[in-house]
């Protein structure tokens, strides 16, 4: 069942019960994140982490979202397990828009058994998701309702839910409709969130480490920021699911539980900055400007 609490209700949630009663209340979002207790964090599964190695061994880690883009994510896992992206490249960097990667030749055969996709995959019926919604009480120009579900921001219209195009979010390139993309051609957002792409293209995940290795790449001088003949495409050395890596090589991350008191306190402060630097709280915040906190954690077993 979908529950959209009012903002008035939201503010009545006791936010610091888990913190020692006599500790000073954190006054910044980052202080809330630092003070969040262990029970406010959820481990991200190895199957949901894509580890991409680009030129010079630089690493980018992407969290994929099987609950919200199941067909595209199934394809992405199959492509990673087939090592399909190894030897492909980053082919497009358009300022204030996207970095895009895949097979520049558009001729590399795809592995068999990929799942067909359609534009119906751009949204997910919430009745299928069956997860609690943390409401987001601030206005959004792109969707009638917004919230957070299972560690992800969510835009919603009735029973339809979709992941928004926020900074660092990863989507699936496609040709003209009815094509909905296989998952082989991916991009990430490097500027103003292009939310006009919501429900027009599949969002499948987000970069959670190494974003600067993509966002600081030279912009392409061709149409739409594609690299031209005189410009060097950035080689992709490999892309692996963390679950396909040896245990010692797997990165580990946790995402804040969006139903936790810590997240409620974090959201409130994102919308009401008032500390040594801020003199005037906004009283609101954009959905994409309240990123769900994520932290790297040490591996369960130390590297040998």
């Amino acid at each position: 069942m979908i529950r959209l609490l009012s903002s008035a209700l939201l503010t009545t949630i006791p936010t610091f019960a888990a913190i020692a009663a006599d500790a000073p209340l954190p006054t910044t979002p980052s202080a809330v994140v630092s003070a969040a207790p262990a029970q406010a964090w959820r481990v991200i599964a190895d199957e949901d982490l894509l580890v991409m190695t680009v030129a010079d061994g630089k690493r980018v880690v992407i969290q994929i979202a099987p609950a919200f883009a199941p067909r595209h994510v199934a394809n992405i896992r199959a492509l990673a397990s087939a090592h399909w992206w190894d030897g492909t490249s980053i082919n497009r960097v358009q300022d204030n828009y996207v970095v895009q990667w895949g097979d520049a030749t558009e001729k590399k055969p795809l592995p068999g058994g990929l799942t067909p996709t359609t534009s119906a995959d751009y949204v997910r019926p919430l009745t299928n998701v069956r997860l609690a919604i943390t409401p987001f009480p601030y206005a959004d120009p792109y969707a009638p309702a917004t919230g957070f579900v299972d560690g992800w921001p969510m835009a919603m219209d009735g029973d339809a839910a979709w992941l928004p195009h926020c900074y660092g979010y990863v989507g699936v390139g496609r040709n003209m409709a009815p094509d909905a993309g296989t998952g082989a051609e991916l991009y990430t957002v490097i500027g103003q969130p292009p939310r006009q792409l919501d429900r027009n293209i599949a969002v499948v995940g987000r970069v959670i480490e190494g974003m600067a290795n993509l966002s600081s790449l030279p912009r392409g001088s061709g149409d739409l920021g594609f690299y031209t003949a005189g410009e060097r495409k950035v080689p992709i050395v490999s892309v692996r699911l963390a679950s396909d890596l040896p245990a010692a090589d797997r990165p580990h991350f946790q995402v804040m539980d969006v139903a936790s008191p810590s997240f409620a306190a974090y959201l409130k402060l994102r919308a009401n900055r008032k500390d040594d630097f801020y003199i005037r709280p906004a009283g609101g915040v954009d959905l994409c400007n309240a990123p769900v906190p994520i932290r790297a954690t040490p591996p369960v077993k130390a590297r040998r």
Copy 2:
């Protein structure tokens, strides 16, 4: 007088009267911009253009906004005319936040006669501006009203108006309040619009050419993205007002008249993408995701 037209009124403005009646209506925002007649454009004054040359001769052009940040802009003009930024550097690049430049030593003497600033300079009374407001009908989580005035997006609360922190917008670094910055330390936004900074810091202009020369710089590894000892600060060769340059060296730009039918048509399509690629219009758009069109124009007199 402030006029906030309703969105219903907005849609009744005849949008293509200036275009031949039998021409097909443009279906994309960029097609509207290409088709806009000469009378839809306003020349940006040479006094409002800041030409910054960084390492390797790369050029960045910033439009400053005297109507909305008069004291800070007066200082910025004085600093440019004194060649104060020559030999300074870009010192901070924080991913998904800002690129910041100025005097890394914090010891370079400022020119005399700079105007003192206070936090009162973060907003501008609309009664002082005396310019027509083109209303923006879509929700904004940061301000009760938004619109466009004199070529700029505007957030408003009663009589107070302020420039929003959009991608590429330029603000004035400051220390802790009550300091409001002189204008010597500047930054531009390279990610998600940090609108929480609105009314907490002065926005004074926007990058209108060469943004990629800033946004693609290597991120700094220090706190807040400052370059550390091992990292190369990016040299600033010079910063000049276009009006201080020889006529033949001045760049020329025009901004779309926000009261024009072309701008109304552009806004409507930014909020309702429906063309060969888009299958589902959003029915809304973020204030920062409807940038006022700007175009470079040939110099009035050709270079010799």
